[in-house]
């Protein structure tokens, strides 16, 4: 560090000036909080100054709807064709004509699909993956979730290619035109990923009608960002020499892209595809609740009727589907071409694919004659619903008091006080503190951004709900971080523990967010405590993973250097490992916060009173303005948290000289 000599003199002055500024700011805010009477407009946003953004959006949507319905309905009709085709193929079968003499073509046989999944597993990952894939599919069939699962699968099958193609295109544009990337694509991706999914379901419903198509388009928006990012990353990561090579053999731009860059970036692209599939599943589950049908709808129905067993079963079917899709697509991403002999015919080159097609065709033909092939026979269907119900009943009977006490204490002494504190917090004070933090961490640009975004929440009259969201999200994120970092540290110290923990993390991460709510609702009923616990479970994984990785990636030489300098294990941890892993841990925290935020919104379904609730009300009323405004507020909270955390990570990293 060349600045060492200057900083010696400069530092004390700087520290004291910033300390003074912080003390002053906190004092002002504290006075405002204690004595709201002196400036009520700064504590509670004046209701006559609320900017009617939601009305504007509603008016705009009405105008779009009035003038562009021909276009949007046209799109609906076009997209509906492949979608209906996939639904017919997988779930419903075809029916031509009417009445008794209609020609009915069967859907693919469930036995054939199970076999095809097993073959895919075998082709990509060998016997174990084949067993896993077949097992999960058979589970879905035997436990009576087949029809819903196939509906979900059909929606995924159509929305994933759509996402991948559009994502690739956008990624290529972003790679070619960096200014376009910075100015338009990156902010758009940020918004798409932080905006709660429900919020954009509303305009989709308005524009594209109450059909599976709007669910699918919402899915496309939600699931596309990773593909765009993966494409940009894949293209950027192609070694410089390969790029030069493309130039030197005289490729045209197009040839270089299609024949050199994209194939070279295949592994990274496939990671993107895997993420698209998982996000699409997540979103299909959510959007199926608004009428598209499928697994999510079953869960919701069961939960509403408090049929815990059925809910759990449908939830596990989602888990099974998620695991199958994740493992298969990951294995496919790892696939590399191996030696093949030239001049083989199709069957020899792709034996598994041929076999799968043959099995599907054969079993489907058989299903014309044998009903057992067409749908799962009732005789072999099973149900664990009574069992689940018995378990929950047993827990509730024996531990009701303990659980209830835990819940009440948490609510009374932890959650409610924090909630009251934040809801009463003067909005102007929050804007001031956030802006100050932004300025300190990065500079005027970040300060302006976070100030505007925070002020938006107040100016739209959503301040109290925003604070309610912040409180639940914050508490959950802090708890997730505490447990997550502790588990991550433990995992980094013991290979055995890591080997035990990491598969659990993998599975937790593949589960659609909705699955976390079900078991918690059973034990804690609806309310803030349930929301918090489900959120902690959902958001804990990045904290564990990044902490573990951060500590493990510290170069061996540094650990050895510390050992030979005589560090005790304690010193090693506090003075070497933790500081060096801190930037990585911060990255994990960043993700934990964003995941917590997205989960909190979904938890509105079980009765929290925050921005999520606002979105749900808007969804029920099909009020696009109200929904989108709340959606923007949520997105802005997410972006403010993300930017501040990222800026502090950057500062940390540059202080450690890691960048």
């Amino acid at each position: 560090m060349t600045v060492a000599d200057t900083s010696i003199t400069a530092r004390p002055a700087q520290i004291s000036s910033w300390t003074l500024i912080w003390i002053a700011a906190v004092t002002v805010v504290a006075i405002l909080y204690m004595m709201p009477g002196i400036a009520p407009w700064a504590v509670k946003y004046p209701s006559d100054a609320v900017i009617p953004i939601s009305d504007w959006i509603s008016a705009f949507m009405a105008w779009v709807k009035a003038n562009f319905t021909w276009l949007t309905r046209g799109i609906t009709d076009i997209v509906n064709v492949p979608l209906q085709w996939a639904i017919s193929l997988l779930a419903k079968g075809w029916k031509f004509g009417y009445g008794p003499d209609a020609l009915v073509l069967p859907r693919l046989s469930w036995i054939g699909i199970c076999a095809a999944f097993a073959l895919a597993g075998f082709a990509f990952g060998g016997g174990r993956l084949a067993a896993l894939a077949a097992g999960c599919m058979i589970y879905i069939a035997l436990f009576g979730q087949w029809d819903s699962a196939m509906l979900t699968l059909a929606l995924i099958a159509i929305s994933v290619p759509l996402c991948v193609v559009i994502g690739l295109g956008l990624g290529i544009v972003a790679f070619r035109k960096p200014w376009f990337d910075r100015a338009i694509i990156q902010p758009m991706l940020d918004l798409m990923q932080t905006m709660p999914t429900f919020a954009y379901l509303i305009p989709m419903l308005l524009l594209f009608g109450n059909s599976p198509v709007s669910g699918m388009l919402a899915t496309a928006i939600f699931a596309m960002p990773p593909m765009v990012r993966a494409t940009v990353l894949a293209l950027k990561r192609v070694p410089h020499e390969i790029d030069d090579f493309g130039e030197m053999v005289g490729c045209t731009e197009r040839q270089k892209l299609l024949k050199v860059l994209l194939p070279s970036g295949r592994p990274t692209l496939m990671v993107g595809v895997n993420q698209v599939i998982m996000l699409a599943l997540n979103m299909v589950i959510i959007s199926s609740m608004i009428g598209a049908g499928g697994l999510g709808y079953d869960v919701l129905l069961a939960l509403r009727a408090l049929k815990i067993g059925q809910g759990m079963e449908a939830g596990l079917a989602i888990v099974a589907l998620a695991i199958v899709l994740d493992r298969l697509s990951q294995a496919a991403a790892r696939q590399r071409p191996s030696v093949h002999v030239a001049d083989q015919n199709f069957v020899h080159r792709y034996p598994m694919l041929t076999a799968a097609v043959a099995v599907l065709a054969g079993t489907t033909l058989l299903s014309l004659f044998l009903p057992a092939f067409a749908s799962v026979p009732a005789a072999i269907k099973m149900s664990t619903a009574p069992w689940w119900k018995a378990v929950v009943d047993w827990v509730n009977i024996h531990f009701f008091d303990a659980i209830e006490a835990f819940r009440t204490i948490l609510l009374l002494y932890v959650l409610n006080p924090i909630r009251d504190f934040l809801v009463e917090f003067p909005w102007l004070g929050m804007v001031l503190l956030v802006g100050l933090a932004g300025y300190r961490l990065s500079g005027p640009r970040l300060a302006v951004l976070v100030v505007l975004m925070t002020a938006f929440c107040a100016a739209t009259g959503l301040w109290e709900k925003s604070m309610a969201t912040l409180y639940l999200c914050g508490v959950s994120a802090v708890i997730a971080a505490i447990f997550g970092i502790a588990l991550g540290i433990a995992a980094s110290r013991s290979d055995r523990f890591a080997a035990f923990l990491m598969p659990i993390c993998d599975t937790l991460q593949t589960l659609p967010s909705f699955c976390f709510i079900i078991p918690v609702v059973m034990l804690f009923r609806v309310g803030d405590v349930t929301a918090m616990i489900a959120t902690v479970l959902f958001a804990i994984v990045p904290a564990i993973r990044y902490t573990n990785h951060g500590i493990r990636q510290i170069p061996e030489s540094l650990i050895e250097a510390a050992t030979v300098s005589g560090c005790t294990p304690r010193q090693m941890f506090w003075r070497v490992q933790l500081p060096l892993a801190l930037p990585e841990i911060m990255l994990g925290l960043n993700q934990t916060v964003l995941l917590a935020l997205s989960m909190i919104i979904i938890c509105a379904m079980i009765g929290t009173r925050d921005l999520g609730q606002e979105v749900f009300i808007a969804l029920a009323k099909a009020d696009a303005g109200r929904g989108l405004t709340a959606g923007f507020a949520i997105a802005f909270i997410g972006i403010v948290a993300d930017r501040l955390l990222r800026a502090s990570t950057d500062r940390l990293q540059s202080r450690l000289g890691l960048v």
């Binding site: 070694p239 020499e241 390969i242 030069d244 090579f245 130039e247 030197m248 053999v249 005289g250 490729c251 045209t252 040839q255 024949k259 050199v260 194939p263 070279s264 295949r266 590399r336 071409p337 191996s338 030696v339 093949h340 002999v341 030239a342």
Partner: protein, 362 residues
Amino acid sequence: MNDQAPMRKEAELTEDDRPVKLRCKNVWKVFGAGAAKFLADRAAVVTSENLSEAKLVGAVRNASIEVRRGEIFIVMGLSGSGKSTLVRCLSRLIEPTWGSVELDGMDLLKAKPDELIEIRRHRMGMVFQHFALLPHLTVLENIAFPLSVQGVDRKTREARARKVIELVGLNGREQFYPRELSGGQQQRVGIARSLCVEPEIWFLDEPFSALDPLIRREMQTELLRLQSVLKKTIVFITHDFDEAIRLADRIAIMKDGEIIQTGTPEELVLHPATDYVAEFTRDVQRAKVMSAARLMQPVSPSADYGGTVQATDKVSTFSARIVGVRKNFLVTGADGKPLGEVTPDAVIDLLADRDLTREERI
């Protein structure tokens, strides 16, 4: 350049009056805002102080080289000396900020994009340090790739590829994928691929630097063998002076973006232009770079010769023999005409590094 005089003499002795294939004159590559204007305003009369004042970085500064047809021309420099940037300027992978590059007298910098594509497709080949093989293609497909880009049909291009595979000794590996090959084999694929279009000028960018020392030697031998068959014009980049000595017809040594000396290995060893060059040449075995011509004296009238060597033969190729028979060797030109003779003492002096007096004798 005080080495002009001996260089002329050398040129007379060796075969070199071949036409210039690739010429670059006063090439600059300067990074930073407004670099082009900065150089244009000063007509490229710029010192390194000027550049740093203007906050510009000169990666290549005023480089001029002439590569003759069929020659192995080596650009040698340590990392950061600008050698890779220079070779990328020659192939226009990087646009030079100033200067001219001519291929067969045609200004390469004026070529339009589609002309450039044509030139690269048919007249240039390049081999890369880290091979730059496409991971999703087999060896055969990789090698045929440049032809497939040109739109050559599958049969023809695979037939051509198989021929080059034969040439570099990769038979039987056609259907392997790059990751299934060792480093040396991968670079053979890289070499075969660049040769598949039968380029006139062949750029090799540190082709052997990523390989183990033993494999590196083997590949150098292989390159010399290929060159004896193919007689390409080669621009070869390396940071390894021993490699340069071993392969080069001529070497240009770069430091901080400038070419500080150009000459045959012999000239560099005998007349290093600067201390920097001398630093490299100090440990070079002279017998390996010096030719018989450099050591010979006029033919004595009544000599009884123990053998005959060509003027261009390196001393190391016959030192053991001449010391063994302890008789003078006759030195002849390429046409067999006697030019002079070499004494065993001269060779021993050279081997023992006592050769400085010999120089004066010539």
